[in-house]
């Protein structure tokens, strides 16, 4: 029951995200239902993690607080474990879930839309696929953090995270390539416009141009193209 309480409250871990200490208030809110106030006060320090990976730290903190939260040395240990685990998991979550899983799910969903699937089915597919993994990570993280405590880092090292990231990245890349080819072949534009366009936009994105910047460049380029055609005529 207490894990369930922490689980549903963990969906608000970013609700009080602030510039000074980031997710400190969200962390306290998640643990509020199960820990006494005096235990929560020490968790008002800086805390930041990828939101789906927060379960690991919440489970760990809950288990250690229950074990011996009153001992000042134990409090120091909980803080240092929390910080070291959160920074490692933040990097992992950012790479895996934000950097690969979310765009790969988008590529798969848009691919289905391009194949002619109704948009409602595409939305349902996207939400189910994406949230399936993320909810599992949230819940499992909480359970494992609570069960394994300090050994959680050792247990996480046994999973080949980089291998999974690489596989998902490749899968997403192949899907995106197929999507780009489909847009080029099925689109209403000639090849000599669409192929260089994809290459040019890829380069702009490689140089960290935002979506708005790219669209503005494209708009001006298209306008220049029409201007040149008018002159030619």
């Amino acid at each position: 029951m207490k894990l369930l309480s922490v689980f549903w409250r963990s969906f608000f871990i970013q609700a009080l995200f602030n510039a000074e200490r980031m997710q400190n208030l969200g962390l306290r809110f998640a643990l509020e239902g199960v820990l006494p106030r005096r235990s929560l006060e020490k968790h008002n320090t800086f805390f930041n993690i990828q939101p789906y990976m927060a379960g690991f730290v919440l489970g760990l903190a809950l288990a250690l607080e229950e074990e011996d939260g009153r001992d000042p040395e134990s409090a120091q240990r909980i803080q240092s474990l929390k910080l070291s685990l959160s920074s490692a998991l933040a990097a992992l979550g950012d790479s895996l879930l934000w950097g690969v899983w979310r765009p790969a799910c988008a590529a798969a969903a848009v691919g289905l839309y391009a194949l002619g699937l109704p948009i409602l089915a595409v939305c349902a597919f996207y939400l189910t696929l994406y949230n399936g993994l993320c909810l599992a990570v949230r819940w499992k993280g909480l359970v494992w953090g609570y069960r394994w405590r300090e050994r959680i880092a050792e247990k996480l090292r046994q999973i080949s995270w980089q291998g999974w990231i690489k596989k998902l990245r490749w899968g997403g890349f192949v899907l995106s390539l197929a999507l780009a080819l489909d847009f080029i072949v099925e689109g209403s534009l000639p090849f000599w416009i669409s192929v260089p366009s994809v290459a040019a936009f890829f380069e702009l994105k490689r140089r960290d141009f935002s979506a708005l910047d790219c669209c503005l460049c494209l708009w001006l380029a298209a306008a220049a193209y029409y201007w040149m055609r008018l002159i030619a005529l």
Partner: protein, 191 residues
């Protein structure tokens, strides 16, 4: 006429961007068709949602960086298209601009404002409710302001040179390619 239901839906689902759940209900591929249905632009809503989803594929909330707000961008583009007779390319540009502007004038200040609650003795549930309500009202106010400005945007668009108007049509045709390039860039296994 301002589509109030669509506007408030976008404002509520804006909470999913950061504050509540992150279930991707705010993503353009979900919000676009939903708002399209609510504003009677089903097909455009789906197309705009898919296009914006691709364009925002690499707008990731990593570290302290605040990406452009996809929910506000989607809401703005569809509200504009429902209120003004503008081409989809123009609505796309306006939506992208609004998404970027919102992250600067609302997301960042809200984040700063929430710091004041760090050492507050008030119950966390009350602080949470206040912060969530503030965020929804901020999103709604921004979208209403945008909706009220839409006649100005429509009039300004009509005064643009024909070349730029033609360019916006080309932008709409090329936007999916730009989106595919965005995906290729972020999922590039060779970088």
């Amino acid at each position: 006429m301002i589509p109030h239901a669509a506007l408030w839906t976008a404002a509520l689902l804006e909470l999913d961007v950061q504050s509540v759940g992150q279930w991707m209900l705010h993503r353009p591929i979900v919000l676009g068709p939903l708002l399209g249905l609510m504003t009677g632009q089903w097909e455009l809503g789906a197309a705009m949602g898919v296009t914006l989803e691709l364009l925002y594929a690499d707008a990731l909330p990593i570290g302290s960086w605040i990406p452009p707000n996809a929910a506000v961008a989607t809401g703005s583009s569809l509200i504009l298209s429902s209120m003004q007779d503008l081409p989809p390319g123009a609505c796309l540009l306006a939506g992208l601009a609004m998404g970027s502007a919102y992250s600067l004038w609302a997301d960042q200040p809200l984040r700063q404002w929430r710091s004041r609650w760090n050492d507050s003795s008030a119950p966390l549930s009350r602080i949470l409710a206040l912060c969530l309500a503030s965020e929804v009202l901020c999103a709604a106010a921004s979208l209403y302001a945008f909706a009220l400005l839409s006649p100005v945007i429509g009039a300004a668009w009509g005064r643009l040179p024909e070349i730029l108007i033609q360019g916006a049509e080309a932008l709409w045709k090329l936007a999916p390619l730009l989106g595919a390039a965005t995906l290729l860039s972020i999922l590039n296994p060779f970088k």
